[in-house]
């Protein structure tokens, strides 16, 4: 299918200021997408309230507006520029919510602006908890038991069916703002009240806890011909209960059998089709019960997300660029793999290395904060490292955080083990200290629910076995295909691939 000629001018929304709870990678993905749109001959109108971004540099758009990302100001830009289409999938949750508001207040309809990448129905089905749940159940997929509440009295009734601990997720917020895990009834009431305040639509989802289950994410792309590929699987080393932005994560997944992984893959295909994302990428999160193989769908983001930025860098598959091309009407098979240059983008990257992402916290700057982690994202940044093994990548990422204050472990062994039960910013330092003091894997598994494979690998690191001892330095590059095809000498993929390649310095 050729590029769409019926649209000429495209409005792109940025993600605004960099705040705790929302990743800073949207500038990168937005800039990549703007470049592609311009290359294809479209006029690009960009709105972003944050001038300290690459995407607001003059060469990335035909017209750039540094305006508040609010319906009124963006409506004025639309009146003046009269764009044919709005691409809302590159500026995180901010842009998606803004597009939804502009549709609902009639601005888009009045000016005949088409939503491309994700239309209004898709945004609603993915972001409205109740609709999402109904969509999943209609597609035959299991979601955690839950109830949507708008008043405290409803929350009390929901508590009876869902039970404690319960997860609270306010509707239409970013980074889980106002959400959390409630273990006691008083915590439950407190957090419901917070959530109702934080949600712009005054809605909180009260949800069955799958805390301790394995948490997995799949990055999925779909084109207008209904071809779907999985760009990357990501496993959270921290089990369910910690926001994925605050979790140590690894790509690809490490602990699922092929049978389990294929079951996730099948479900991811069902999810993206059921929600109805026609062109572009989505991030889909699952919880897997390690003992029963049971899978529940947690959520999906019908847009470029923090995880897709990670997946792009991890695999060499430029999700933002390709999402922009798909929105223009191209099919995956019509887009070249930037790295091999000989194979199309309608494939699934396979990698022969391990990528670890580690969050960077700054609790030392917030004296009142206790450093405990839950479903509300608190990290201020992240580090990604590539190694040929998990141990290499984990160690590289860990030291690359360049912490100002080294975490301290309590002297008392029992206190140390007890602290491990509650996820915290210093959890892995504490875990490694406990391992050094001789705590067994079974004990640590019971306290943390971390998969035994990760415990064994981290244990080997803690006990001082240098994963890089005796290795020669060599240069490897991210090539999307585990070396099956030769990477093109001239590497046009831009920042993602070059920085990833530079990190992959040892085998």
């Amino acid at each position: 299918m050729p590029r769409r000629d019926d649209i000429r001018k495209i409005l792109v929304l940025g993600s605004g200021p960099i705040v705790i709870g929302q990743a800073a990678e949207f500038d990168y993905s937005g800039a990549q997408a703007c470049k592609v749109l311009l290359e294809e001959g479209y006029e690009v109108v960009l709105v972003n309230s944050n001038p300290a971004t690459i995407m607001t540099d003059p060469e990335f758009a035909t017209a750039t507006y540094v305006e508040p990302l609010l319906p009124e100001s963006v409506a004025r830009v639309i009146e003046r520029e009269k764009p044919d289409a709005l691409l809302p999938t590159l500026g995180g949750g901010t842009a998606l919510n803004l597009a939804r508001a502009l549709w609902e207040d009639g601005t888009l309809g009045r000016h005949r602006v088409e939503l491309i990448g994700a239309n209004y129905e898709v945004i609603r089905r993915a972001e409205d908890r109740l609709l999402f749940r109904e969509t999943m159940e209609a597609a035959g997929l299991r979601v955690p038991r839950s109830a949507v509440v708008t008043r405290m009295a409803e929350a009390e009734r929901a508590l009876a069916s869902v039970g404690l601990p319960a997860i609270l997720r306010p509707g239409f917020t970013m980074g889980g703002e106002g959400g959390g895990v409630a273990v006691t009834e008083s915590e439950f009431r407190e957090k419901v009240a917070e959530g109702l305040m934080a949600s712009p639509i005054g809605q909180v989802l009260v949800e069955e806890s799958v805390i301790g289950w394995g948490e997995f994410e799949l990055e999925v792309m779909r084109d207008r011909n209904d071809n779907v590929v999985i760009v990357c699987s990501i496993e959270n080393v921290d089990p369910m209960g910690v926001h994925t932005g605050d979790s140590v994560t690894v790509a690809p997944q490490q602990t699922l059998t092929d049978r389990q992984y294929q079951a996730l893959r099948d479900q991811a295909l069902t999810v993206i089709r059921a929600v109805g994302v026609e062109t572009g990428g989505s991030n889909i999160q699952f919880a897997v019960n390690p003992d029963t193989d049971e899978i529940v769908v947690i959520e999906m983001n019908p847009r470029v997300s923090r995880s897709s930025a990670l997946a792009s860098k991890a695999t060499g598959f430029p999700i933002a660029k390709i999402a922009a091309r798909l929105a223009m009407g191209y099919a995956l098979e019509e887009i070249d793999n930037d790295i091999t240059r000989r194979t199309p983008a309608s494939f699934e990257p396979t990698i022969d290395y391990v990528v670890v992402k580690w969050p960077r916290f700054a609790f030392e700057k917030f004296p009142g904060a206790d450093g405990r982690l839950d479903t509300h994202m608190q990290s201020v940044g992240e580090v990604m490292a590539i190694g040929r093994t998990f141990k290499q990548a984990f160690a590289k990422a860990m030291r690359s955080r360049e912490l100002d204050v080294a975490p301290a472990a309590p002297d008392d062994d029992e206190e140390l083990l007890a602290r491990l039960e509650q996820p915290s910013h210093d959890r892995f330092e504490l875990l490694m200290e406990a391992m050094l003091r001789g705590a067994g894997d079974a004990e640590l598994k019971a306290r943390t629910h971390i998969d035994p494979w990760f415990l064994a690998e981290i244990g080997a690191l803690a006990r001082g076995k240098d994963p890089e001892a005796g290795l020669a330095r060599t240069f490897k590059s991210v090539d999307t295909c585990a070396a099956e095809f030769e990477a093109s000498a001239r590497d046009p993929t831009g920042r993602a691939t070059r920085s990833a390649a530079a990190t992959a310095a040892r085998w």
């Binding site: 690809p252 092929d258 893959r265 022969d352 040929r388 064994a456 070396a483």
Partner: protein, 374 residues
């Protein structure tokens, strides 16, 4: 077994590592697989007979081994080469440790190998013979043993993978009677057919067409399997007798055998397709499936070409009328499947049964059975 060891290739290249698995030597054709999971399914796939598998994904063994991941009754690969093999039994679904199991099955393995350098070597130079040896074995002795391993070209390995006696499954099933020539069929293929109600029979690959006719088949199925299709003229002859009489469907080696039976030619790919991420376009529907692949040979185009440059359903003139290109590999544009237009028959080069790999192409089993019903 532990201690230093190495892989020696027939061109003299050497890759060092640590021995693990069984205390044995092994020689075979060295091939690489790019899947990131499914190691147990791969080594038990009979198509890997006489081959040494290099896994490009560094961590192998993470979730142990279990009975349900078997693709046959034993390991067919000769040896396994890994960057970081691990023996773990504590994964929730594990019934045993990967390295312990390799040892129990008598299969040697190397870990700690720079598999990316090895894969790039094979990619550039082609699949070749090699062997796994302890460091104490002199390279000159090792080389002699590698050179004594027969080349894959012209090699009949189906006889080693085929059952001695026919196996009759589900004689009372409601579906059509499908008679398979078992050149090393994978359990996932058997499962997919049985799940669809087929009365399936597996016959030794040297069964004659006359004997197969006595089974009164509604269809003949040609299985996957190891070795060079050009060395299986006796199977090709059997298939040739049956084409036109009953619908014939083939997967992988079976695809190559059916193609040869109607007069088409096969050739050896430089390093083959082994993995779970190859895009294949189904020309009739336009859909692109991500497929599981494991083959070293492929079918030539109508004019002897190795790559098909257009996405059109081009035609071959075969001894049984027209054959039409039905599926195409978008990586290297090789033939992935075709349908016979004048007699009932269809084949695919890839693995719709997955095991391991994605399930995108499972619908081909339904398509096949629709063809049988007509």
């Amino acid at each position: 077994m532990t201690g230093p060891g190495y892989l020696l290739l027939e061109d003299g290249s050497r890759f060092d590592g640590e021995l693990c698995g069984a205390a044995a030597e092994a020689t075979g054709e060295v091939v690489f697989n790019t899947s990131m999971s499914g190691y147990q399914e791969s080594v038990t796939d009979p198509s890997y007979a006489a081959q040494i598998i290099v896994f490009t994904y560094p961590h192998v063994g993470n979730y142990g081994v279990s009975a349900r991941a078997m693709e046959s009754d034993r390991i067919h690969a000769r040896a396994v080469i890994m960057r970081e093999g691990v023996d773990r039994e504590d994964s929730p679904g594990a019934e045993g440790g990967w390295l312990t199991w390799l040892d129990d099955c008598g299969v040697p393995a190397l870990t700690g190998v720079d598999t990316r350098a090895l894969v790039r070597h094979i990619r550039d130079k082609g699949a070749m013979r090699g062997g796994v040896f302890a460091a104490t074995v002199a390279e000159s002795d090792a080389r002699e043993r590698v050179m004594a391993e027969p080349s894959m070209v012209g090699r009949d390995l189906a006889r080693e993978a085929t059952p001695a006696e026919p196996v009759i499954l589900d004689p009372d099933a409601p579906g059509p009677r499908v008679v398979a020539l078992d050149t090393g069929i994978k359990s996932s293929i058997v499962r997919n057919l049985r799940e669809r109600g087929v009365r399936l029979e597996l016959h030794p690959c040297d069964t004659s067409s006359a004997e197969l006719r006595t089974r009164e088949p509604d269809a003949v199925f040609l299985a996957n399997g190891p070795g060079d299709p050009a060395a299986l003229d006796y199977v090709v002859g059997t298939v040739r007798d049956l084409v036109g009489e009953v619908p014939v469907f083939g997967i992988c080696l079976g695809h190559q055998l059916l193609c040869r039976a109607v007069g088409l030619e096969t050739f050896k790919l430089p390093f083959g397709h082994r993995g779970a991420n190859h895009p294949v376009k189904d020309l009739a529907s336009g859909r692109i499936d991500i497929t599981s692949q494991n083959h070293g040979f492929a079918v030539q185009g109508p004019h002897g070409e190795l790559r098909i440059e257009s996405d059109e359903p081009i035609r071959w003139e075969t001894d049984f009328g027209a054959a039409e290109l039905a599926q195409l590999n978008l990586y290297d544009r090789t033939v992935e499947g075709l349908v016979l237009r004048d007699v009932p028959g269809a084949t695919v080069q890839y693995h719709p049964e997955a095991g391991p790999g994605p399930h995108d192409a499972e619908y081909l089993f339904d398509r096949f059975l629709e063809m049988v019903a007509v």
